[in-house]
Symmetry: C2
Subunit: 363 residues, 2 copies
Amino acid sequence: MEQLKVELGERSYEIKIGYDILSKVGQYLKELNLGSKVMIITNELVDSLYGREVEQAIKKAGFEVNIAKIGDGEEYKVLDSAKNLYDQAVNANLDRSSTIIALGGGVVGDIAGFIAATYMRGVNFVQIPTTVLAQVDSSVGGKVAVNHPQGKNLIGAFYQPKLVVADIKVLSTLEPRQLKAGLAEVIKYGVIWDKEFFHFLEAKREEILELDIKTMEYLLKRCCEIKAEVVAQDEREMGIRAILNYGHTIGHALEAVTDYQRFVHGEGVAIGMVAAAKLANKLGILDLADVEKQEQLVKDFGLAVSFDALKINKIIKALAKDKKVKDGMIRFILAEEIGKVVIKSDLPHNIIREVLEELGGER
Amino acid sequence: MEQLKVELGERSYEIKIGYDILSKVGQYLKELNLGSKVMIITNELVDSLYGREVEQAIKKAGFEVNIAKIGDGEEYKVLDSAKNLYDQAVNANLDRSSTIIALGGGVVGDIAGFIAATYMRGVNFVQIPTTVLAQVDSSVGGKVAVNHPQGKNLIGAFYQPKLVVADIKVLSTLEPRQLKAGLAEVIKYGVIWDKEFFHFLEAKREEILELDIKTMEYLLKRCCEIKAEVVAQDEREMGIRAILNYGHTIGHALEAVTDYQRFVHGEGVAIGMVAAAKLANKLGILDLADVEKQEQLVKDFGLAVSFDALKINKIIKALAKDKKVKDGMIRFILAEEIGKVVIKSDLPHNIIREVLEELGGER
C-alpha cells in the first residue's frame, strides 16, 4: 500500500492507495477518532457492488452507519439532491461530530463533500473514490460543489476531507468509458507538471488500460502527489492551483452546452486539453510537436479529440459564465512545453473561435 | 466613528461603527479593492429605507450594482430562497472577484453570507447590519446559514466578511420589538464575559432604549469587541466560542417548536438566558441573586421571561435536534457568576423539565 500526505496545516490529511483495502476503512476511521455516527453517500450501482463491504467494515469498528443514495449522473449533482441528503442527515440524527463518507465517483464525492461542508456548518468528511477520475483528481484537494443550471460546480466550497482511501480493485468494475475519461485527468498532470510522467503514460499505455496493479499504484500515487503539491501551495485557488484546470475551460463549456448529457467530465477535459494545446500553438508559445503528442496520448487512451453538431457561439457564451472568468476575462491554462504551463486571460476571441472550428464547432 | 479589528490571520477584517455612515460604504469597498461587481441582498422594507443611499454610494465609487431581495422573516431563510439568490447572482454575471453585500438584519446577513460562502466556492462578503441583533452578533464572526425544517441554521458555513459597517442611525427605524429582541444578545455579552458591561446595561437602560448615540456607540463597540475576542480564539467553534450560545440552547428550541413564527430570535434567547440561569442555580453553581439580576435586566428591556401553551416534551425533542448536541449530549452554557460561564453537557433531563415547567411549559 502507498500512502501520502496532503500538507495543509491543521487541515492536513492522508491518502491511502492500495489493492483491496476497503475492508480496512473502519479501522482507519477509528484511528482518526471520527465521532460515532457515519452516513455513507453513494449511488445504487456502487452501493450494490461495494456498499456492504464498506458498511460492514465500519460497523465492525463500532460506528453507527446510515446509507443515503443519490441518482447516478452529473444531473443529480444539484441543490434538489442536496436538499434530500440534508433531510436524510437530519433523520439519521447526524451531529457535529459525525462523519459523511463519499463512496463513489466525482459526482458522489462533490455532492457528499458539499453536504459535509455545510451540514451543521461542517462535519467530518471521508472520500472513498471509486473511479479513476475521482481517485486522481476530485477526491483530493477539497473542492466540493453542486451544479447550477447555468454552470457546473457553481455552488460549492473548499472543504478538506479527513482521509482519502483509493482502492485499485474497485476500478475493475468501472465501465470502460469512465476508465478512459479518468485518464484524461491523468494526462493533465503530465502536461502541467511532469514531463517524465507524461513519457511514462506514453510508454505504459497497455498496462494502464489493463489496470496492472503496480503500474496503477504508481500512476495514482504520482497524480495525487502532484495534486497535493499544487493544492498545498494554494488551497483556495488564488493563483497556481488554477493550473489544475488545464483543459477544463473549454471542457466545462462543452459539458454545459450539452446539458451534461453528452460528455462525461473527462471527455470534456480531453477535448479541452487538445483545444488548449492548439490555442497555445496559435499564440506561438507551444511547438506543434507538443500539440501532437498530447493529441496522440488522448487518442491512445481511446478518447475523442474533436466533436460535432455544436455551435461555436453557444460554447463562447458558456465560457463567459465559467467560474474561472475574472472581471469579465476568460482565463486559460496554456502549456509552454509538456510539463510547464502558464495562465493567460487575454486571449483574442477570434483565436478561440478558430480553434473551436478546427475541433468541429459550427459557425 | 469607532473602528475595531477582528483578528483572524489572513481572514481578519474591520468593523466600522458610527452614526450616518452608509454614504461612505462605496469608499470603504474601494479601499479594500473588492472587484467591480456588487450584489446587494436585502428585503423590501430595508431596501425602501436605505437601499438607494447604499446603492448610490457604491455606484459613485465605480462599482456595478445589482439588488436582490428576499422576503422579510426567518421563514425565508431557507434553501429555496438561496436557490433564487444563486439564480440572480448568475444573471447578474457575478464572478469570483465580485462582492455580495448583506443589507439588513440577521436573516438577510445569514442567507447572504451563505450565498457568498458558496457561490463559486466563495466570493467577497460585506455586512451592513441594520438591526441591533445583527450589529452586535450575527454580522460578526462568520457564521452563515439557512434553516432546515427540522433545525435552525442547520445548513451553513463559517465564512468571514471582508468588512462590517454598523450605522447607529438606521436603528431609529427599527420596530420596538426588534430593538428589544436585539438587546437580549447585548445582555448575553455581559453575562458571559464582562460584569462591568452588565452593570453599564443596568445603569443605562433609558439611554439605550432611546438610542442615545454616545451610549449606543459604546454598547455596539463593546459587544463587537467581546465577540471578536471570542471568535479570534476559536473561529470554528471547537471550544470557547460555544459560550456565545448562552441562552441559545433553549432559545433555539422555543423558536423551532413554534415554527419560527412566534418568537423572534432575541425573544427566544431572552427566555433561554433566564432558563440557563435557573438551570445553573438548580445545579448549585449560580447564586439566586444573579439569576434575579438577569431576569430583571431582561424585563427592564421589555422582554418576556416566560411563555405559555407549549408542551415540554416537544421542547425536549427539539433540543435533541440542535446542532450543539454532541454524540447525543445536549450542551448548555451556564453562568457561574455574571461575567463567567462554563459549558456543561451532562445535565439531568428532569432538571431541564423542571425549569421548562417553571417558565410556563406544559407537561
